[in-house]
Structure formats: structure tokens, C-alpha cells
Amino acid sequence: MEQTEREVISVTELNLYIKDKIESDFLLRGILVRGEISNFKRYSSGHCYFTLKDEACAVRAVMFKFDALSLNFQPTDGMKVIALGRAGVYERDGQYQLYVSQMRQDGLGSLYEAYENLKAKLNAEGLFDENKKRPIPEFPNRIGVITSPTGAAVRDIINITGRRYPSAEVVVYPAIVQGSESVPTLLAGLNYFGYTKLTDVIIIGRGGGSIEDLWSFNDERVVRAVAASPVPVISAVGHETDFTLCDFAADLRAPTPSAAAECATPDREQLTERIAQTKSRLTVLTEKEISARKDKLKRLSSSRVLTDPQNFILDRKVALDIITEKLTDKLKIQIQNKKTELKEHTATLNALNPLSVLSRGYSAAFDENGNVIKSINQIKNGEKISTKVSDGTIISTVMSTEMNEVKKHGKEKNEF
């Protein structure tokens, strides 16, 4: 642009030139900027647009969805931050702006330290122990809510409990949820629901805000009162990414007040469905039982013993006959066995009878007195003896006696 006759350029060319100038500057590619957020807007696309300003100046800033997802806090107007980003130009508007990739809250060092120290201390005391957590009652009659009576949180809780389970009574204890007067009201609310009236569950919380706004819920007195509450407590402070010490001490942490309302109530739709199912189960079971009894009655009344008693008796007769037959057979066999046994015994006895020897040709001689004659010395000549043979007795008179040869020689051994 050194020519005397200056070249005419379009706006687009100008903006692109400026864009190139700025974006090629190495220093502007990674700068840390301290400032206060204003006009913060998060679009449905997830991209965030805001202005960073200090006492004198302001600069437009954009944080794209991908980078915004990594934020661990909810940026709000007035919040002091340190942003990391690059300077760039949006050529359509000729506007230079800051493209922010990371952002943290400014001046929170001491707060975070206090938070971490108290958390460690209460944790060591067992205030956050999992086994201290009580179940949230399934069907609350009375829900105590400790929050600001004018905030969005209380509206959300009333709306959602009403939609899900309108028969529960919701009692709001009006608390101041931020600032120096907050803690006594939170403590009074916990005391009211915990000790003075029968309440089934307590919701304590508030909507989103800066970490300073939520600070009452990190107050040691409030955290201890939540842990000690005789009634189960649901803590719902800020947004999903905010964790206060109340959340750790409560029986249940809900990410938002709306979620707390859901946790505190059963879903009426589901319950209605469940009751309808129970009703149909009742009907089905009753019908089933009755029809089972009908079937049984039908089966009994159609059994043969009732429909055909004659046959029933005949059957029994046949069975009796069969048994009688079997019994007789058994008896016959027994008698046969005994007969055979008797025959065997008789044969044995016969074999042992001394008279049976006679049948084999032996005989026995008796003197007149009936004594068996075993020696010639027992009789004298002329005496009568009787000799028994197999078929009778021979009577004879002794003519003489002769001693065996062997005996004569004085040997007494009898050969027989």
C-alpha cells in the first residue's frame, strides 16, 4: 500500500488481511487473560459466547463446545476468571476476539484450600461414611424442603413432586441460601424438620451459582447438622458439577434440586402401572384357583367309582380271585415239599434199622430169655434157641457147640 495511486480493496480483503496479521503473531497464539465475565450465553449448539472485561476495557470471547465441556464450573456473569486462549478475527464482523480453550476461576486459592482441609477433617471423623447413609423412604407423606422460597429451586421441587407424587405434603422452610446470614437459617431448617415435626425426608439445597454463592453448604456447622439429622437428607446444591461438603454428608446427593425432587418421590405413572398389574394378578389368581377347584370337582364326579360302581366291584373280585389262586398254588407246593422231605427221612431211618440187616441174609439168635446169643458159653446143649431171620423165627434145640479155631488158641479178638 505504498503506491501514490492507492489500491482499492474490498472489506473482505481488509478483514482477511487483519486476520492474517493477528493470527500469524506467535505471542497471540497462547495468552492468559484475567478478566470478569459478562453477557455469558451458552447456545444450544454447546458453544459459549461472552465478554471478558476489566475496569476499562472489554473483549469478545468464544469458547467452543468441545472446550466448554471440560469446564469444572458454571461460568456466570460477574465471575472473575483467568482464560487461556488465542486472539483471532471473525472476518464477517471485522471483530477481533479471544478463542478460549481453558478457563479457571480467579482468586479461589484460599477457598479451595479451606474446602479441602475441612473435607479431609470431616472425612477422618467418619461423617461421610457410606455405611452411615440411610435409605430414602419410598413413599413419603411429608417432604421438608430447606431452600429459598423465591428461587427456581423451590419451584422445580414443587412442580416435580407434584407431577410424580402429589399425595405427598411439601413443606418449605424458607432459608437464605447465600451470604453471611445463610448458615443460621439452614441450621434452623434442619432443626425444624429433624426434631419438631414428623417429616419423612429433607431436601436441602439451592440452584447454581458461583462457588462463593454455594459456600454456606460447605460450612462446618451445616455439614455436621446434615450428617446428624435424624431424618434422611437429600442434598441438592447447584449444578451437576458442583460438589459441596453437604453433598458428602447427606444420605443422598442429587445433582440438581429437580433431581432431588425425583429422588424423594416415587413415580406415580409407574405406581399406577404396578397397581394395575397387581389388580390383574389378583383377578387371574382368583380365577385360576376357582377353575382349579372346578376341574377337581369335575374329575372326581366323573371318576369310575361314581359313574360305574358295578365295574368297580367286578375289578375287585377279579383281583381277589387272582390272589386266591396264587395262595392255593403256594400251599400245594408247600405240601409237596413236605412229602418229599418225609420220604427222605424214612429212607434214612430204614438204613439205620438193625432188623434190616436180616433182609440181607444175616440172622440173630436168642436164648429162651430173649437175650441175644453172642458166645457159646451162654447156652448149654439141649436148650432151645430162637433164630430170627428176615421173614420169621426158627426154633431149634442146641445139639452141640464148637469154639472157633482162633478162640481155642486163646485169642479173644472177634473177627466180626
Binding site: 413413599f139 405434603e169 418449605v172 424458607p174 425444624y192 399406577t272 397387581t278 389378583l282 383377578t283
Partner: protein, 76 residues
Amino acid sequence: MEKKKMSFEEALARLDEIVGSMENGKAELDELLSLFEEGVSLVKLCNSKLNSAERKIKLVKANGDEVPFENTAEEI
């Protein structure tokens, strides 16, 4: 008459109990029918409790009184 005082939770628990004792199939016929009647009336009770039109939203005042929430919300 006891039914009227039953909480929703108790009514639901009794319903489960009734279905349970019907399921084991040991009930006498008379008992079965009276269980069925009781069950049906509990179903009515549960439904009426679930659908009660009257919502109770209250606000605790400084003196400990509980007043309807809507009317006082502005004053606080």
C-alpha cells in the same frame, strides 16, 4: 374402617402379601374370595391416594406455623 387409616405404603405392602398368599395356592375357597375382595378394595385405596387432587404445599413461618405456600410466597 382400618383401611381408611392405612398409609399408601402399608396398603401396597398388604397387597403384595395378599397376592403372595394367593400364589402359594393354600388358601381355602372362602378365604380366597375374601382375600380377593380385600385386594380389590386396597387397589381402590392405593389409586385414590395416588390421584388425590388436593396438594398440600406449606411454608414454615418464623413462629413455627405452617401456612399455605402460595399465599405467603410474596411476603418472604
